[in-house]
């Protein structure tokens, strides 16, 4: 989700930082002004009416944020546009920061509330990081990867391309069904270097992952098969596409890996929030 209409990632990330700071600061300043008007104490006390109200509002926001999860599980239920959900997820998430800070009274409290607060701050930080990389990496992906594929299917596509490359190598290495001397020379390249790279990409540790190495190898191949330029060009194009998919995989990894932190910590934080609320409101 792009944050704002800025054309450059730097502009959008800056905008995100400014809004985060503004919302947090404005919320706290408003609460301070309320205390000056003697609506509540300053710093707010967690168990005061105002503190509990902030806690309940924060809990409500967090529950809505967590509702994004069932919303994704039930895409077919037509629960509103994804874009709207994401907008609310982001803006209410930003609003949750001052609300929860006011609920805490700027104190960590006991061990469990403190741990819950730390988890909340980590969830906020990971969410902001995720939002920031989404302002930047998709644009970079668009610029650097011409042949973007479905990331999870890249290994499958690699297998398809390996089959195609196999047929191309077969046609390259045999003339009327008879293997040439050059074909025997280049057979190890096909089996050990080219095909593993097309199938597994960088994980194959093939020298073709390095562009200079690849160019050198394909130049030599052209020298060995001067009449098969079209076939070799296609083989090189397949290798280049695989390289782009590697780039795509790397960018996709960074585009989504923040969720490894964001989601589990959000789940833990929500659970602890319930435990905290019950123990704080009902002492037995």
């Amino acid at each position: 989700m792009l944050f704002g209409r800025g054309k450059t990632p730097a502009h959008r990330v800056t905008r995100l930082a400014v809004w985060t700071t503004t919302i947090a600061g404005a919320g706290i300043i408003l609460a301070f002004l309320g205390s000056l008007a003697r609506f509540w104490h300053w710093p707010p006390q967690s168990s005061s009416a105002f503190g509990v109200a902030c806690g309940l509002l924060g809990a409500g926001i967090i529950l809505f944020e967590m509702a994004l999860l069932p919303r994704k599980w039930c895409r077919g239920w037509r629960l509103g546009a994804t874009r709207l959900w994401m907008k609310l997820h982001v803006w209410l998430g930003l609003l949750a920061l001052p609300v929860v800070l006011l609920h805490t009274g700027f104190h960590f409290g006991g061990p469990l509330p403190a741990f819950t607060l730390v988890l909340f701050l980590l969830v906020m930080a990971s969410g902001l990081w995720g939002l920031a990389v989404q302002q930047w990496l998709p644009q970079k992906l668009h610029a650097n990867v011409d042949t973007e594929a479905i990331a999870s299917q890249i290994s499958t596509l690699g297998q398809f391309h390996a089959l195609e490359a196999g047929r191309l190598f077969d046609s390259l290495f045999s003339t009327d069904g008879i293997a040439t001397e050059a074909a025997r020379t280049w057979q190890p390249f096909r089996e050990n270097i080219y095909t593993p790279y097309i199938q597994m990409g960088r994980r194959s540790h093939s020298p073709l992952a390095v562009h200079a190495n690849a160019k050198r190898e394909f130049d030599r191949l052209r020298e060995s098969f001067p009449d098969e330029a079209a076939t070799i060009d296609r083989l090189e194009a397949i290798r280049d596409q695989r390289r782009q998919w590697d780039v795509q995989l790397r960018l996709t990894f960074w585009l989504h890996n923040w969720l490894w932190v964001h989601l589990p910590l959000a789940v833990a934080m929500t659970g602890l929030m319930f435990i905290h609320a019950i123990r704080a409101l009902k002492y037995w």
């Binding site: 104190h107 999870s152 659970g271 409101l281 002492y283």
Partner: protein, 520 residues
């Protein structure tokens, strides 16, 4: 026959279908981590349900003070259990519903406190905040707890009760009034001049003969003389007193035996009271004048201190009777003769006693036959008299109020201030008759410096503090909160300490109940 490539395109795809339903590696990692987190939280929730007492400290917002450490894991010891009844917005009220009075009694500040203040007083946690850590204090609280009422005392005092203190105090440095004992006229009933007694030789002019150690030795025993002899003095030197000659901290030492706690138990906040037998008698022995009996000069006998004239008169009658009897005079208690011939002897005996007693009383109280004003040699040298000066039965020595504690509504620890000289806080107590022209003031005002001297140290660092001599000094930054000097509970009886009956718990607990924090 080779398969046509167009067949591949025309055939129905049977490969990697529904791939979008399957999680890729990243999604699997995310899901497993989320499930792991959920499992951990559920385990913790079960633990909370199974053992709420053991998990209670996890929810506490801080360690209890060391005095309450025994109940760190037992919320029930202090908190009244509550459910979800009532508004969730009243959570603070429920958490502050405490049972402090199981162990503590908190007598009211003043009976005159208004209803609102009484309600505030009834909730202990309004002032005493626990969960501040082991080293936190439950009684050293911030000034706003006190100034809540003391910024406008009249508004927080019952309409029927008079306001007994300054109407508005918000800060020790800014607007704390001068200490009350120093503001009004102090009715002194004892004549004593520090300026005279601190002058070497204890004399009011340079030409007068000094009171020497030799002279002292004639009045008292050698041990007492040694007590007043400075290390650099010989017996012919003038007596030179210092503060410690009479004023001693309650150190539980032998010197204060009988007036303080056993050795090592005394806090030493205050100086022991200056009492005649300990501090005055050496130089001012109370003795009856010498008398002549049967042409024999009899030495005067020691008189008790602390007696009213009527009591002293009875004592003198008894002592003179004993002297006359031991001198061989006939006893009036001999069997009464029916012919009346013994009455003359008895009358003579009584007249002799009465004369000696009256002479002695006149001399002790030195009452002028005409004015009745005491000129004082013995008792009236220091004490004021009241009553009819010609009738010893009505004559009264004005009582001397206890002055060991001047500021009864605050506490002061002399021991922690002993690094500074006595004169720092007690001006006018130094020797004053070393040069001529000084007027003897026998009834001194309280020789205690005012609040500004306290503020010199007890004010925010760098504050400009005006001293009594007109100079200014930068504040020392030493603590200056209300609770550093004042206590709250039982304020109508400021001289009573923590052991006051009003502070005793209603029902003390046995050890096990005490450690459980619950009644048996």
């Amino acid at each position: 026959m080779p398969r046509s490539p167009s067949r591949d395109l025309a055939d129905r795809y049977s490969g990697n279908r529904a791939y979008f339903h399957r999680l890729d590696g990243s999604q699997r990692a995310k899901a497993w981590l989320a499930l792991l987190a959920l499992g951990a939280v559920l385990c913790w929730a079960l633990f909370e349900l199974a053992s709420p007492a053991r998990t209670a400290p996890m929810h506490s917002h801080g360690e209890l003070a060391s005095v309450h450490a025994a109940w760190e894991q037992d919320c029930n010891a202090c908190h009244v259990a509550h459910g979800l009844d009532g508004s969730v917005f009243a959570a603070r009220d429920r958490w502050h519903d405490l049972t402090c009075q199981k162990c503590h009694s908190g007598p009211a500040h003043h009976a005159s406190i208004a209803a609102e203040g009484q309600a505030f007083h009834d909730r202990c946690s309004n002032c005493h905040h626990d969960h501040g850590g082991r080293n936190s204090s439950l009684v050293r609280i911030t000034d706003d707890h006190c100034t809540r009422c003391h910024q406008d005392v009249a508004a927080h005092t019952s309409a029927l009760a008079p306001v007994q203190c300054e109407r508005s105090v918000t800060d020790f440095v800014q607007n704390h009034p001068e200490f009350k004992p120093l503001t009004g006229e102090v009715q002194r009933t004892l004549k004593f001049s520090h300026a005279l007694h601190m002058t070497p030789g204890i004399k009011t002019n340079a030409s007068a003969a000094p009171f020497t150690l030799e002279a002292l030795a004639k009045l008292t025993d050698s041990a007492t003389t040694a007590r007043y002899r400075q290390p650099d003095q010989v017996m012919t030197d003038a007596v030179r007193l210092d503060c410690a000659s009479c004023h001693q901290l309650d150190a539980g030492s032998a010197a204060s035996a009988g007036t303080s706690l056993p050795s090592g138990r005394s806090r030493g906040d205050y100086y022991l009271p200056v009492i005649f037998d300990t501090n005055c008698k050496a130089c001012h022995p109370l003795r009856a004048p010498e008398v002549v009996l049967n042409t024999e000069l009899r030495a005067g006998f020691a008189l008790p201190h602390g007696q009213q004239p009527a009591e002293l008169q009875k004592f003198l009658l008894g002592e003179f009777s004993r002297q006359l009897l031991t001198a061989g005079q006939k006893t009036p208690e001999a069997p009464v003769r029916l012919d009346g011939r013994g009455e003359a002897e008895s009358l003579a005996f009584r007249q002799a006693i009465d004369k000696r007693t009256r002479d002695t009383m006149m001399r002790l109280f030195e009452v002028s036959d005409h004015s009745g004003v005491s000129r004082g040699e013995a008792c009236t040298k220091c004490h004021d008299l009241s009553g009819n000066s010609r009738d010893f039965a009505t004559l009264r020595i004005a009582p001397v109020p206890p002055r060991a504690v001047w500021f009864t509504k605050a506490r002061f620890d002399h021991t922690v201030h002993r690094a500074s000289t006595c004169a720092t806080c007690h001006p006018g107590t130094a020797a004053a008759f070393t040069a001529p022209g000084k007027l003897l003031v026998e009834k001194e005002p309280p020789q205690i410096a005012g609040i500004d001297t306290c503020r010199a140290c007890h004010s925010p660092a760098g504050t400009s503090v005006a001293l009594a001599d007109g100079t200014t000094i930068r504040g020392g930054g030493v603590r200056h909160q209300c609770t550093d000097c004042h206590a709250y509970h039982n304020g109508d009886h400021p001289r009573e300490g923590r052991a006051a009956p009003a502070r005793l718990p209603a029902k003390p607990l046995d050890l096990k109940s005490f450690l459980r924090g619950t009644n048996p």
